[in-house]
Symmetry: D2
């Protein structure tokens, strides 16, 4: 039961965050998958992907998973985001973020995001984040 | 490929931590499941389970999952443990912790633990923890 | 400007949490200092203090610092608590928790707690926690 | 007792991370202060500063504080970084990160970073991070 489709959320994100290098791959029940382009600007010395790229990916993945559940609510804000960095990301692969929501309450959402170098099996990082949802902001059910 | 069985780890934990109220339910590849008894001492006003019970459960779940992979290494120590509390636990059910290791390096292990009131589907809390493994402490492979 | 005194909060905590081994040392503006007794039950093999003792100490320190600011609000609940364990605590000293609130919003409080073995200068652990404050629960100003 | 000066670290950072928008303001014993420029690229809709800017600032602040203590060790890597976002940053002010190291061990450093909109008293975010220091990598004492 999803209240906003991948296309609706992608259109919203493209309009609101025109500069974002993160694209939505898919949304599902309490889940989302996004990808961050990796070019010269995203690399660190040693050919690895920078931490801020991980943060942008995790943050958007959480936001998209929440929007898919509650509908387009522009006012939700990140209140915490915690990362464990586990492996050096490949410099020539995009970063994929897979989000799974653990809780979607009326005013607080909690989710985890596992981050991969695209196509490789072992996660490069893991994040847990919380979003505050403005009271009464949940969109009316479509239909 | 597990280097210590549920029974071996249970025997080690019982000998080293005779007072622990946490029991091991099972271990698997990069995973473990444990349970914490809940009695009067574990309750808080309002009939909910205390935060320290969650911490004990998560910490043992991680430790057991690591021991199962690397063998009995008494010197591994927790370096971080982060919790999100999501739902009020039931006061009359044990707390179950399901650990999944995200990384098992030579000197650092990272894992997540989802905590449940036994028999209920929605997690009450989620934890992410790291353990420092002493260099060269990994037990020789059995057999 | 504190809305509940050390004595008022101590009386509330003693009534609500009669079993707690944590005592309040003092409260101040956006701050609190508490202490956890350490006896046989709080020790781990090797003579160190258990992680759950740290959690109980940090949680009460945060709660007390919040109560001091907003007045006696029994319904505030911990939503996250993150620990870094830095040094082995002494087995024969109490654990002191010093809390400093970083934010006290209408519905969310954030604070950090530095944990010490009493009388020793180097912290044994550091925690950051968040509390959800029920809307409209802030006590009327005294006086 | 600092083993690398602000100038030495700034020269190292400029050479290794030529694209970084973070500048070092000062280093001290177990501490550092850095600043992140804020221009159009760092803004989010609504005129606020993006989360990745906070992460870049916190990460560099920690790295610089560690380098100041142990000397120029290019191989130290971030292993965890946790954020609480507390207030909306001003869109027209730089982000300042003030780092205080809580522990500097042989292989692990832990520090906290308080993030401000430059010139404003209330923190916009708070971070806690850990760095793994390669064994035997600590630079020989200067002099």
């Amino acid at each position: 039961m999803v209240r906003a489709s991948t296309q609706e959320i992608a259109a919203f994100v493209a309009a609101e965050f025109p500069q974002t290098p993160v694209q939505i791959l898919e949304v599902g029940p309490m889940s989302a998958r996004v990808v961050h382009e990796v070019g010269t600007a995203e690399l660190r010395p040693g050919g690895t992907v920078s931490g801020p790229v991980m943060m942008a990916t995790a943050d958007v993945a959480l936001y998209v998973a929440i929007l898919a559940q509650i509908g387009i609510v522009p006012l939700a804000v990140t209140t915490s985001l915690s990362f464990n960095f586990m492996r050096k990301p490949a410099g020539d692969r995009r970063i994929v973020g897979e989000c799974k929501l653990l809780k979607l309450g009326r005013t607080l959402a909690v989710g985890e995001v596992t981050l991969y170098s695209e196509g490789l099996p072992e996660p490069v990082a893991h994040a847990v984040g919380t979003y505050a949802i403005p009271p009464d902001a949940q969109a009316p059910r479509r239909g």
